[in-house]
C-alpha cells in the first residue's frame, strides 16, 4: 500500500444539477509526477479541491498512503505530510518572505528548528536577497516561488500544485522546473497545468480531464498525439 | 457593613480626595447641594423639570438670605438616562465634590445605584419621587407617594368605575415589579381579581400583540404602571386600536412626566390617576408657585408631580438645616425626625420620623383635555406600607428595601 501515495475511487462532486467531477478513479504511486490537463471547466480544479479538502466530495473516497481522507479538513490533510498550492498565489502578503516560510516550517518543527529549516528553504529557492521584504511588494514569479517554499518546507511526501507556472516568464519557468525536479526526489506530485512546454519538461504521465471524467491517462507523448484529446482540447488551441 | 469598613472608608476617603486633581477649590462660605438627575435621554421629560424645580428652590432660599448665613451652591450632574452614570457621578459628588446633601435619582434603579454610596460616605440623601415604597435606611429621606398612599386610593376608585377583573401592565424593573404586586394586593382587598400581569422592559414600544392579548382575557380595567418615553406608545396604540372606549385605563405613572400633555385629548381623556400634585390644583400655594415658576422660566406648563416633589424635598432639607442650625448630618437628621412639616405647592408635607417617608395629600384625578381633573382629595395620608415594615427609631441600622410578599 505504501507504494500508492494518492488514490481516489469514484470521486464525484455535484453542484446542484451540475456534475463537476464524475466518478473519478485516480491512482498515484510514491514519487510519481503526474500532470492533470483538460480544457476549462473539465473538472480539474474541482477534483483538486476535493483532494485538498477545500471541498468535500458528494460521493466517492480519497486515500492518501492508504489512509482515507474523504471529507477531511485541509489542515488535517496537510498534517499528514501533504503540501498544497492553490491556483492563485495564496500567501501572507503583509508578512516577510522569511516570516511566511517560518510559519510553514513551524507547523512541523519547534521554533528553533523552524529557523534552521526556513534558512535552508530560502537558500534552496535563492530567496536570500528578498527574505526581509513583505510578500505584497514582490513580483508574481517571486511570490509563486515563495509559495512553493511554503509547500516544500514541511518535507511533504505528496505535493499538489495548481498551475505553478501560470504567468511566469521563460526564465522563471525553467527555475520552477528545476525546483519541481528537486521536490520530486522526495515526493509524489500532482500538477494541474496548461502550459504544454512546461508539462513536457517535467512529466511522463498525463491525465486528461474532460466533462468531469478522466478521458485518458497515458504517457505525455501518446496523449499529445491522441486524436480524441486533440479534438476536445488541443485542437482548439493549435 | 461593619463598623470596620466604615472607619476604613472614611479615612481612605480623606486620603483619596487629597490626591484628586484638578478639583474645585473648596469654598468655605457656601453650602453644596448635589443634584443628580437625567436631564437628557429617554427620562429627560422627568428630569428636566425636576432640575428646574431644584434650581428654583435654591434660588428662593438664596434670595431669602441663604442658610446659616451661607449661600447654597448647586453641583449638578446629568446622568443621561444611563444607570451606570449614576454610580459614577454619585461617587464624584460624595468623594470629589464632597457635597453636603444630595437630591436626585428618578427611577428606582437610579436610587438603588447611589443609595449605598451615599450611606457609605455619610452624605445625606433625598429621593423626591413617587415610588414603590419599602426603603428603610436612616440616611435617606423620601417624599414621593408610596403605593399605600397612591395605589390603595386609586384601585377602589377605578374598580368602582369599571369592574372587578383587572389586567396589569408594568415596567420591568424594581418599581414596576413591586408596584404590580401592590396593585394585586389592593385589587384582592377590594374583592377583585387580577387576570393578567405583563412586564415590559423600558425600551419596548410595540404593544400590538399585548393589546390583542388583553382582549382575549377581557378584563374590566387595565392598570398601567408604565415608565418612560417608549412606554408612552402603549397609550397611543391603545387608543389607535379603538380600545379606549371599551376598557378603562388607570395608571400610577401616567402624567408624572406630563405625558398627558404629549397625548391628544382623544388618546388621554378618562385615564384615572392619583397623585400628590396636579397643575390644576386650585390652591393659593399652587397658584403662587406657578407664578414664581413662570417668572423664572417663562411659562409653567412643564411643572409636574415629581418636579414639585423635588421642590418640596429641597425646601424640607432647608427647613431642617435652619432648625438644626448646622450642616452636620446627625443634627439635620435629628431635626427632620422631629416630624418637621413644610407647606408646599401640593399642600402640607410632613416627615414621618419612623420611616423617613412623608405624610401628604393625595388626589384622585382623571385626565381631561391634557389636564388632570381632581375628583377627590384624600388629605394627609400616611405611608402605611413602609410603616408596617420599617421603624428607624427602633432600628436605626436598618438598610433594606422591604418588598411586599404575596
Amino acid at each position: 500500500m505504501a507504494e500508492v501515495a494518492l488514490e481516489t475511487q469514484g470521486l464525484t462532486m455535484r453542484f446542484g444539477g451540475v456534475v463537476a467531477a464524475n466518478r473519478v478513479d485516480f491512482k498515484l504511486r510514491a514519487r510519481e509526477l503526474r500532470c492533470l490537463i483538460g480544457p476549462n471547466g473539465a473538472g480539474k480544479s474541482t477534483f483538486f479541491k476535493c483532494i485538498t479538502g477545500l471541498q468535500s466530495p458528494t460521493e466517492g473516497e480519497v486515500y492518501m498512503r492508504g489512509v482515507e481522507t474523504t471529507g477531511w479538513m485541509p489542515h488535517q490533510i496537510a498534517s499528514l505530510g501533504v503540501g498544497m498550492k492553490t491556483q492563485t498565489p495564496n500567501v501572507m502578503d503583509s508578512l516577510s518572505v522569511h516570516e511566511n516560510i517560518w510559519l510553514a516550517a513551524r507547523r512541523f518543527h519547534d521554533s528553533r528548528e523552524a529557523d534552521h529549516k526556513t534558512q535552508e528553504i530560502i537558500d534552496l529557492l535563492a530567496l536570500g536577497a528578498i527574505a526581509r521584504d513583505d510578500l505584497g511588494r514582490l513580483a508574481h514569479g517571486e511570490r509563486q516561488r515563495v509559495e512553493l517554499g511554503l509547500v516544500a518546507v514541511g518535507d511533504p511526501w505528496l505535493i499538489l500544485l495548481d498551475e505553478p507556472a501560470a504567468g511566469l516568464g521563460a526564465e522563471e519557468v525553467e527555475r520552477m522546473t528545476a525546483i519541481i525536479h528537486v521536490l520530486n526526489r522526495q515526493a509524489a506530485l500532482v500538477i494541474v497545468e496548461h502550459d504544454m512546454q512546461f508539462i513536457r519538461s517535467i512529466a511522463q504521465t498525463v491525465t486528461v480531464f474532460h466533462q468531469g471524467k478522466v478521458l485518458i491517462e497515458d504517457h505525455v507523448d501518446r496523449v499529445m498525439s491522441d486524436p480524441v484529446v486533440r479534438n476536445v482540447y488541443l485542437g482548439k488551441k493549435s | 457593613m461593619s463598623l470596620n469598613r466604615r472607619t476604613f472608608l472614611s479615612s481612605a476617603a480623606a486620603v483619596a480626595s487629597a490626591s484628586m486633581l484638578p478639583r474645585a477649590a473648596m469654598a468655605a462660605d457656601s453650602i453644596k447641594l448635589g443634584s443628580i438627575l437625567d436631564t437628557s435621554g429617554i427620562f429627560d421629560a422627568y428630569g428636566t423639570p425636576m432640575d428646574m424645580a431644584m434650581r428654583l428652590a435654591v434660588n428662593e432660599i438664596n434670595t431669602a438670605g441663604g442658610l446659616l448665613g451661607m449661600q447654597v451652591e448647586v453641583v449638578a450632574y446629568d446622568t443621561q438616562s444611563d444607570m451606570a452614570l449614576y454610580s459614577q457621578y454619585g461617587q464624584q459628588l460624595t468623594r470629589q465634590d464632597e457635597v453636603d446633601v444630595v437630591h436626585g435619582g428618578i427611577l428606582s434603579a437610579s436610587r438603588e445605584a447611589i443609595r449605598q454610596t451615599m450611606r457609605k460616605t455619610r452624605t445625606l440623601y433625598f429621593y423626591n419621587v413617587l415610588y414603590e415604597g419599602g426603603v428603610c435606611d436612616r440616611n435617606i429621606f423620601i417624599n414621593g407617594v408610596t403605593p399605600a398612599q397612591q395605589v390603595e386610593a386609586l384601585v377602589p376608585y377605578a374598580m368602582g368605575k369599571s369592574g372587578k377583573s383587572v389586567y396589569i401592565l408594568a415596567a420591568d424593573y424594581n418599581y414596576g415589579q413591586i408596584t404590580a404586586r401592590w396593585i394585586q394586593k389592593f385589587v384582592a382587598d377590594n374583592g377583585g381579581e387580577t387576570v393578567g400581569v405583563d412586564f415590559f422592559p423600558l425600551d419596548v414600544s410595540d404593544f400590538g400583540s399585548t393589546i390583542a392579548k388583553i382582549q382575549t382575557v377581557g378584563p374590566d380595567l387595565v392598570i398601567a404602571p408604565l415608565v418612560g418615553g417608549a412606554h408612552l406608545s402603549f397609550f397611543r396604540q391603545w387608543a389607535a386600536a379603538g380600545m379606549k372606549d371599551r376598557i378603562p385605563l388607570a395608571s400610577t405613572t401616567m402624567g408624572v412626566g406630563n405625558e398627558h400633555k404629549v397625548l391628544t385629548p382623544e388618546e388621554g381623556n378618562g385615564i384615572m390617576v392619583a397623585y400628590n400634585y396636579s397643575q390644576e390644583l386650585d390652591t393659593p400655594a399652587n397658584n403662587a408657585f406657578k407664578e414664581r415658576w413662570s417668572a423664572s422660566y417663562g411659562d409653567s406648563s412643564l411643572i409636574h408631580e415629581i418636579a414639585v416633589s423635588n421642590y418640596q424635598g429641597v425646601m424640607t432639607w432647608a427647613e431642617a438645616v435652619r432648625q438644626a442650625g448646622s450642616l452636620d448630618r446627625e443634627a439635620v437628621i435629628a431635626a427632620l425626625e422631629t416630624g418637621l412639616s413644610i407647606g408646599g405647592p401640593a399642600g402640607t408635607v410632613t416627615v414621618d420620623p419612623k420611616t423617613h417617608h412623608a405624610v401628604l395629600d393625595v388626589h384622585i384625578m382623571e385626565i381631561e383635555d391634557q389636564g388632570m381633573r381632581v375628583i377627590e382629595t384624600l388629605p394627609q395620608r400616611q405611608p402605611i406600607d413602609t410603616q408596617a415594615v420599617c421603624d428607624l427609631q427602633a432600628n436605626p441600622d436598618d438598610n433594606t428595601q422591604y418588598e411586599i410578599q404575596i
Binding site: 446542484g16 | 437628557s40 435621554g41 429617554i42 429627560d44 421629560a45 428636566t48 420591568d172 405583563d198 412586564f199 415590559f200 422592559p201 425600551d203 419596548v204 414600544s205 410595540d206 404593544f207 400590538g208 400583540s209 399585548t210 393589546i211 390583542a212 392579548k213 382582549q215 382575549t216 418615553g229 417608549a230 408612552l232 406608545s233 397611543r236 396604540q237 387608543a239 389607535a240 386600536a241 379603538g242 380600545m243 371599551r246 404629549v262 391628544t264 382623544e266 388618546e267
Partner: protein, 288 residues
C-alpha cells in the same frame, strides 16, 4: 376563530414592519455592498421630518409618503458624496464610517430637536374583527410593505434603470465600458436606499414615541434580516423577514414581547450557523 385572525394580522404586521425597516438597508447592501449602520438614524430622521411637517400643517400622508423619503434621500445623497464614495469596496470601513455617522446624527438630532419624546397620532382609526379591536394602522403598514416589495421587484426587473443598476452591481467595469458611470449608479442607489429608510421611519413614527436614539432599536433587526436574507435582494428580504417576523410574533403571543425578541435573535444565530451564506445563498440562488 377571531383570535386566529387577529394573531394572523399581527403576524403579517410583524413581517411587514420587518420588511419596511430592512428595505433601505437591503437595497444599499444588496446593490453596492455597503452596510449602512446609520440606517436606523435615517429612519429616525424620517420620523422627525414627518412630525415636523405635520406640525407645520402638512397632511400626514403627504408628510410620510413624500416629504420624509425625499428629505432623508437628500441627506443620504450628501452622505454618499462626502463619505461613502471614498469607501466603496471596503466593507468593514463603510460599516465603521456609517457607525460614526449614526452617532453623529443622534447628536445632531439631539441638538436640534432635543431629547424629549415626541410623536403624532395614528391617522387611521381602529376597527373590529369579530370581538376584537385591532389597530387599523397595521393594515396600512402591511399594504405599504407589500407594495414596496412589488415595486422593488418591478423596478429591478422591469425597468431600464433597474437593469443598469443590476448590471453595475455585477460588473462595474463592464457597465462603465458600456457608458454607464458606476459612480452615478451607486449614488442613485444610495439615494433610493436612504429614501426607503426615511419612508420606513416616517411610517412607523405614529406608532411609537420618537427620540433621537430611536434608530438603535431598528438597526440590529434590519441588519440581521438583511444578512440572513443573503445575496438575493427581494427574495432574501421576503424570506428572512417572513421567517423572523413569524418567529417573533408567535413567541410574543405565546409568552411575552421580550421572549419574542429573544426568539428572533436566537433564530438568527441558528439560521446563520446552519446557512452561513444566508437563506438565498443556499436556496434561491441567483434570483433577485
Amino acid at each position: 376563530m377571531d383570535l386566529y385572525v387577529v394573531v394572523l394580522v399581527e403576524m403579517l404586521y410583524g413581517v411587514a414592519s420587518l420588511i419596511l425597516i430592512s428595505a433601505g438597508l437591503a437595497i444599499v447592501f444588496g446593490m453596492i455592498k455597503v452596510i449602512n449602520l446609520a440606517h436606523g438614524e435615517f429612519m429616525m430622521m424620517g420620523g422627525y421630518a414627518t412630525i415636523t411637517a405635520v406640525n407645520l400643517g402638512v397632511n400626514v400622508f403627504v408628510a410620510m409618503l413624500l416629504i420624509a423619503p425625499v428629505v432623508v434621500g437628500l441627506i443620504g445623497l450628501v452622505v454618499e458624496r462626502l463619505v461613502i464614495r471614498h469607501l466603496y469596496g471596503r466593507l468593514i470601513d463603510t460599516m465603521l464610517a456609517t457607525w460614526g455617522l449614526s452617532l453623529f446624527f443622534i447628536g445632531l438630532a439631539t441638538m436640534v430637536f432635543g431629547n424629549t419624546t415626541t410623536g403624532i397620532s395614528t391617522p387611521i382609526p381602529g376597527f373590529a374583527i369579530g370581538d376584537y379591536q385591532v389597530n387599523g394602522y397595521n393594515f396600512f403598514i402591511i399594504v405599504v410593505s407589500a407594495l414596496l416589495l412589488v415595486a422593488m421587484l418591478a423596478v429591478l426587473k422591469g425597468t431600464r434603470a433597474g437593469l443598469v443598476a443590476r448590471g453595475t452591481m455585477q460588473r462595474p467595469d463592464m457597465a462603465a465600458a458600456l457608458g454607464y458611470s458606476p459612480d452615478r449608479v451607486y449614488m442613485a442607489t444610495f439615494f433610493c436606499g436612504s429614501a426607503l429608510s426615511g419612508l420606513a421611519g416616517a411610517i412607523l413614527a405614529p406608532l411609537v414615541g420618537l427620540v433621537p436614539t430611536s434608530g438603535g432599536a431598528y438597526i440590529a433587526k434590519a441588519f440581521i434580516t438583511v444578512i440572513a436574507g443573503g445575496p438575493s435582494l427581494v427574495a432574501g428580504l421576503f424570506a428572512s423577514a417572513g421567517f423572523f417576523g413569524a418567529v417573533n410574533q408567535i413567541f410574543t403571543f405565546a409568552i411575552s414581547p421580550v421572549i419574542g425578541e429573544v426568539a428572533l435573535l436566537v433564530a438568527a444565530v441558528v439560521l446563520l450557523r446552519i446557512l452561513p451564506q444566508g437563506v438565498t445563498g443556499t436556496f434561491f440562488k441567483g434570483r433577485l
